[in-house]
Chain length 155, copies 2
């Protein structure tokens, strides 16, 4: 089958307090998705899904996004080998965001194309001066687990 | 001061592997923000910030978003009392998403306007059939911590 049918959006009460998934795909057909490590709770990445990628995720149990830059289905890890096994799907109160919990697998167990476990590998300085942009400094909180140059082949 | 100046976006290398915050505010002036409980790692909510709300967050150390529905600055908890104290700010590899870690405070320690600790209080059935939308059932994973009807005054 190649259809990707989701329950229609009904009333605010049903959407917010009901028991049927009624995901809101935006005008561009996309819904934001937060991906969390099922074991540690670490937020690994943030990406978008369309109906096709959500269905693909549910069918294969492998996190599948929609790549906006490449305009195509993006099976996470298909190139790097760092596949995300689906463990849980959640949605928020108004069902315009998804949260998935995954088991990050693969040679390096890394989510980020830069080689880090999580894409959120930098932290803003605690003593930033909001009125002085030159103080907006980031520091690295982890080290890369693989070398992107050797994992992603040149195309 | 009332300016909200952020470092300009420079090169991909600087954005992805550099040490300066260069947040990408979209064409609508907004950047997505994931909010996580600093103690438990639970994802509490997902909202948007503009430059003004990010600066307000950094100045006051209280999570402040941009309400798209009300088109105004949204100091989280200003009405319900469930203020989020800022503990950490992160950004992702391409700096088009923010992740903040907060201490959820207030009478109920709840983030969601429906009274729940987290907006992600429902989970999709594990045995969903991707080809049958009628199987897309959600179950509640927590109970509300406050009654919205008594916390939010009618306007």
């Amino acid at each position: 089958m190649s259809s990707y049918v989701y329950p229609a959006r009904t009333t605010t009460a049903e959407i917010e307090l009901g028991t049927t998934l009624q995901p809101k795909f935006g005008p561009d057909g996309l819904i934001p998705c937060i991906t969390q490590d099922v074991h540690t709770g670490e937020v690994l990445m943030f990406a978008f899904m369309n109906a096709e990628s959500l269905t693909h995720t549910l069918r294969t149990k492998k996190a599948t996004y929609w790549s906006r830059s490449r305009n195509k289905l993006w099976v996470k890890g298909e190139e790097s080998g760092n596949v995300q096994q689906l463990r849980e799907v959640r949605t928020d109160c108004d069902q315009d965001v998804l949260l998935i919990k995954v088991e990050q697998t693969g040679t390096a167990n890394a989510s980020c194309h830069n080689g880090y476990k999580s894409c959120f590998y930098r932290q803003l300085a605690a003593d930033v001066n909001p009125d002085d942009p030159s103080s907006f400094k980031l520091s690295f909180t982890s080290k890369p687990l693989f070398d992107p140059a050797t994992v992603y082949r040149k195309k």
